[in-house]
């Protein structure tokens, strides 16, 4: 169960109060009616699904009700920061986001070096 910092409530709350809302910073095209089929598919379906640093939206649905953005590492599930909706994509502090690049079982299954 994640612990999520709501930038509006200004405190950490249990994941139970939140709903995940997909990848962040995907703007709805202003001229949406005019875009091509490919562009529409890209906008509506294609997602980065990053392994490592990802930008995503959450809604504090059982709290303040606000949508906001988060930067999270999808390998460790650690939140690097959260920030209000409408703000541009934020640079995250250098953390060496992902735990490792090589994932052979010798490196991971043993979890031992």
């Amino acid at each position: 169960m994640l612990l999520i910092h709501c930038p509006y409530c200004e405190e950490d709350r249990s994941e139970l109060e939140f709903r995940w809302a997909g990848e962040a910073h995907i703007a709805r095209p202003e001229n949406i009616a005019a875009i091509s089929d490919e562009e529409f598919a890209e906008f509506f379906f294609l997602r980065n699904n990053e392994k490592g640093l990802t930008y995503e939206r959450w809604r504090h649905i059982h709290g303040c009700g606000r949508f906001f953005n988060a930067a999270r590492d999808t390998v460790s599930d650690r939140f690097l920061m959260t920030y209000k909706a409408g703000l541009p994509k934020q640079q995250v502090p250098e953390t060496g986001a992902s735990e490792k690049t090589v994932e052979t079982y010798e490196a991971t299954e043993g979890d031992a070096r």
Binding site: R28, I32, F44, S76, A85, G86, Y105, E106, D111, A112
Partner: protein, 992 residues
């Protein structure tokens, strides 16, 4: 109450142990009655009576006894019950405390524990090597299902699942703390004292009934000048008295999850003779901890040698606990087989208590000097550089075979118990669950915490800290406070080994058990390697080593070492299997907590529910709601009731509870503009006082929801949604409002539950409600179809809609929810006098189908566009933007031949189609058939005097007038494609 002390068991040692004979209880084991002392586990009580044979193993049904004195126990699993409904299989005898009247049985044996037919498996064991089933049982093909698998299934399994509903309560509690400490041994208690002194909120957790951890087995350690165990109890008392500390005993930290979240299982009343009715059996603690101190100690390993599994063979530390804590000797003539100094202390304690020590067999050439000296002092025979290579006995060990390492000269030594130790494995389970990274300590052959992934720290045995003073320092530092504490050990321990012992090496075929419960032997692990299983995960899965209910607490390191030796690779290169939650098994009841019965899932009822129930309604589940389905009168079945209701609505009128429909108040100067973007329709043209049917699509252009929207004022709309759609529609709207259109000045509020909604439909609808409505002219002229107004009904503020989901003259009366019942009652009294009826959702469905009205979710399924369902008119052609505008234009959404909603009539009017039936053009084609679509709605229409149906059919509208076929299991039904309006095609009635 107790009888003479010897009834407490022939193996109780007078003066030994910490239990007092003041309180005793009785229990039965396999039908035989025994007496126990308060504080006894089932294991200690049985051992006190000399009972060592306690269970049978999983695969070979070998006789087994108690191996440990804690939760790592793989063998002594029992069935424990209070009464028929309170029966718990697979209970660890070493954890379960005896309560008075406990009925305890052994498992996995037939007909009896001593004589078990399943033991034939032991004779057949050469055939049943690891993974044998992958290689056999394939011929003939059918035999697997019919013969082999049923036999395997019957033979497998341990306990028998309960068959009655569990009457016990289980509780749940969320909690927060600054520091959670897992384990209340020396390290945990010290850390707790240190942390508590800083004022931090502390939760200290231990799985045993009282604190002390490894001090349970100990007799010689002193802390703060006191006996270790006594010091621990004093420390706990001090902690419990502090307002910022919570001490939870009988509680296991079973899982360490993300972001400082931990799951704890507290056994609240399983040890009580007669728990109160309101006392939960177990309690789940869901704790969010700022920091975690892991002080879980270490677990002793057994030695791996031939026939190391006989009852009477147990861990040295367990024997020490039974002696020093429970006052029970595990035998009268005890052998010791060890690779570690700790077992010597067990021998010393036993010897001092008057138990004969047959010999200490130590596979090392050089045990610790201090323990050797003490052994000499006590006159115990120590055989260094020797190993136990076999044991004798059938249902209990009666001898051990000892040989000088590398020598074939053997001698048999008579024993009635054999205590073993291969050293200690740090309990890194929680650390690993927190996703910390381990490192391998080559010198001590153990995995230790290395890189922490969360805000936690390991202290003591689980970190590999062996020295008591160092351990205390470490714990004080971890707690963050200051403390002066001195601890003294009698002996410093050395030694330890992992892997197979002497006589169980690769060149042998003996049964040297690594994993007791699953009967995994050293040779099974070697076989796995031979067969190409080189990753420890493969070896685990192939042999099932470590997959039994103790989850490898004893077996993992041995298995790893044997595999590494066979692979000729260093241990870290072979890997270590993941430590998964839970640390020890947790009952479903604990995890479910209160979520059962009425609290499993909320049951939502409308304000009129009780009146409807009193009127005889049957209800159906729609999401969480209970909705009145139909109102049978005496002697009516559902069909008769629905036919009557449908007829009555069209002939007179009907009253219907529409409260569950979602309602959203959309308020603000940009409200119309916002709705323009969210619905396919145009809303700026809707005048205040009017309402309109709207369709909502997502960006993909498929119908998402629908409903009537009323404009109450320039800046205020009353939006309705489907019953099931209410929450997701509001979320969808909020999403667009907050993130795509934040410039719009508009706010959304859910008002679903603010209003009770009473629909009155039928020719007499106006007459029924008119006298109750004040301040509004509801004549046809003043208040035509699709009007909305605020008014007063029975003296309360109301919103009145002139709308219809039946095709009849209709109104929907919205009143504040608490007035719903009274207004419903008043309307019904008038309606009933006029010959109207109450109707439920089933009639509502029929009546709307007669008119071809859509039900989103029934006639659409998430792949249907407005045009597909014949509602293309609801998509504004003028708007330049709305959600769905682009999705609707995609190639597949505009192609010919899409499935379209049409009507179907059966050639035989009395045939009512099955909802979900599939439609074909040629019923005689071979399978797989080409299906054109399916029946979405089908009813007997009393008003049409025939069956009617709606269907999604490929190119449906172009097939109107044609005959299609519905092949059912027993016959094929011919249908004609029609439009979707079956009743009052001209639509005049709605304006009546």
């Amino acid at each position: 109450m107790s009888g003479p002390a010897n009834n407490l068991g022939a193996f109780r040692i007078k003066g030994a142990g910490r239990l007092t004979p003041a309180r005793t209880s009785r229990f039965t084991f396999d039908g035989k009655s025994y007496t126990a002392m308060e504080g006894d586990t089932v294991a200690s009580a049985l051992l006190a009576h000399g009972v060592h044979l306690i269970g049978r193993s999983f695969k070979y049904h070998r006789p087994r006894g108690v191996l440990s004195a804690g939760p790592e126990e793989p063998n002594a699993l029992l069935d424990v019950s209070r009464d028929a409904a309170r029966r718990q299989p697979n209970v660890r005898a070493t954890v379960q405390e005896v309560f008075d009247g406990a009925k305890i049985s052994s498992q996995n044996r037939w007909p009896s524990l001593a004589f078990d037919v399943g033991a034939v498996n032991n004779l057949m064991s050469p055939f049943f090597a690891a993974g044998f089933y992958y290689k056999t049982f394939m011929w003939p093909k059918e035999a697997w299902t019919k013969i082999y698998e049923p036999i395997i299934r019957r033979a497998a399994g341990l306990g028998v699942a309960p068959t009655e509903e569990d009457p016990d309560r289980y509780a749940n509690r969320y909690a927060h703390c600054d520091v959670l400490i897992a384990g209340a041994g020396v390290a945990g208690l010290t850390a707790a004292l240190s942390a508590a002194a800083t004022g931090a909120e502390v939760i200290l957790v231990d799985e045993q009934p009282e604190v002390g951890g490894a001090l349970h087995s100990d007799a010689t350690t002193t802390i703060d000048g006191k006996n270790g165990f006594d010091w621990a109890q004093g420390a706990a008392a001090k902690l419990k008295a502090m307002p910022n500390v919570r001490v939870l005993t009988r509680t296991t930290v079973f899982g360490y999850y993300n972001h400082g979240f931990l799951g704890l299982a507290e056994r609240v009343s399983d040890h009580l003779d007669r728990p109160g009715r309101d006392v939960p059996r177990e309690r789940l603690w869901q704790v969010r901890a700022g920091r975690v101190i892991i002080a879980t100690g270490s677990i002793e390993r057994h030695m791996v040698f031939a026939n190391n599994d006989r009852p009477g063979i147990m861990l040295a530390s367990a024997a020490r606990t039974f002696l020093n804590h429970h006052g029970v000797a595990v035998g009268r003539r005890v052998g010791v087989y060890t690779a570690h100094d700790s077992a010597y202390e067990a021998a010393f304690d036993l010897k001092r208590a008057g138990v004969a020590i047959a010999a200490i067999v130590d596979c090392r050439e050089q045990p610790g000097e201090a323990v050797l000296a003490e052994a000499r002092l006590l006159g115990i025979d120590v055989l260094t550089g020797h190993s136990v290579t076999n044991t004798g006995g059938r249902l209990r060990i009666n001898s051990m075979t000892v040989a000088r390492n590398g020598n074939f000269d053997i001698r048999k030594i008579k024993v009635d118990a054999l205590i073993v130790s291969a050293g200690w494995t740090p309990s890194v389970h929680l650390f690993s669950q927190s996703r910390g990274k381990l490192r391998y300590d080559e010198a001590q052959q153990r995995f230790l915490p290395d890189i922490y992934a969360q805000d936690c720290v390991s202290v003591g045995g689980c970190k590999g800290t062996d020295d008591l003073a160092e351990l205390i320092d470490e714990a004080i530092t971890a707690g963050g406070g200051r403390l002066a504490l001195v601890g003294e050990n009698r002996f410093d321990w050395t030694g330890g080994m992992i892997g197979a012992g002497e006589g169980a090496g690769p060149d042998t075929t003996v049964k040297a058990f690594v994993d007791f419960q699953h009967d995994v032997t050293a040779k099974d692990i070697r076989l796995a390697v031979r067969e190409g299983m080189h990753s420890i995960e493969h070896i685990k899965r192939f042999t099932t080593n470590g997959m039994a209910s103790d989850q490898g607490k004893l077996s993992n390191m041995h298995g790893l070492a044997i595999a590494a030796e066979m692979l000729d690779r260093p241990i870290p290169k072979v890997g270590l299997t993941t430590f998964r939650a839970p640390y020890t098994p947790v009952t479903y009841g604990t995890l479910v907590g209160h979520s059962r019965g009425d609290l499993f899932d909320p049951t939502r009822k409308t304000p009129m529910h009780d009146l409807e129930a009193a009127a005889g309604a049957e209800f159906e589940d729609v999401g969480n709601w209970k909705r009145a389905w139909y109102f049978p009168r005496r002697g009516e079945d559902m069909v008769a009731a629905v036919n009557r209701e449908c007829r009555t609505v069209r002939d007179v009128a009907g009253v219907f509870d529409a409260s569950t429909l979602g309602k959203i108040e959309v308020v603000g100067p940009d409200a119309a503009q916002f709705l323009n973007l969210l619905y396919t329709n145009a809303w700026d043209t809707l005048k205040p006082g009017k309402c309109r049917y709207g369709i909502m699509t997502r960006e993909d252009g498929f119908i998402y929801d629908d409903g009537v929207v009323g404009r109450l004022a320039e800046d205020r709309f009353h939006v309705t949604t489907t019953t099931g759609g209410a929450p997701r529609v509001l979320n969808h709207m909020e999403d667009y409002l907050q993130t795509e259109f934040p410039h719009l000045k508009v706010w959304l509020t859910s008002t679903t539950e603010q209003w009770a909604v009473i629909a009155v439909q039928g020719p007499k609808a106006r007459e029924i409600i008119a006298p109750l409505v004040e301040g509004l002219d509801i004549s046809n002229e003043a208040f035509p179809h699709m009007s909305v107004a605020e008014c007063t009904v029975m003296g309360v503020p109301a919103r009145l809609f002139r709308m219809s989901f039946t095709g009849e003259l209709g109104f929907e009366v919205n009143v504040p929810a608490d007035y719903g019942a009274a207004v419903w009652q008043a309307i019904w009294e008038r309606a009933e006098r006029m010959g109207a009826c109450l109707y439920g959702t089933e009639s509502m469905h029929v009546l709307r189908a007669e008119k071809g009205y859509l039900i989103v979710g029934q006639d659409t399924d998430g792949t249907v566009t407005p045009d597909d369902s014949g509602y293309g008119w609801a998509v504004s052609k003028k708007k330049t933007d709305f959600v769905g505008i682009r999705g609707l234009k995609r190639p597949d959404l505009v192609r010919d031949g899409r499935k379209q909603l049409v009507g179907l009539v059966t050639n035989r009017p009395s045939d009512v189609l099955e909802e979900g039936a599939q439609i074909v053009a040629d019923p005689n084609q071979p399978k797989p058939m080409t299906m054109l679509g399916h029946v979405t709605s089908a009813y007997w229409s009393e008003n049409c005097g025939r069956s009617i149906a709606m269907a999604l059919v490929a190119g449906g509208r172009s097939l109107i007038g044609q005959t299609l076929f519905i092949p059912m299991k027993d016959r094929t039904i011919a249908v004609e494609v029609t439009d979707t309006v079956f009743f009052d095609k001209e639509g005049g009635r709605i304006h009546g």
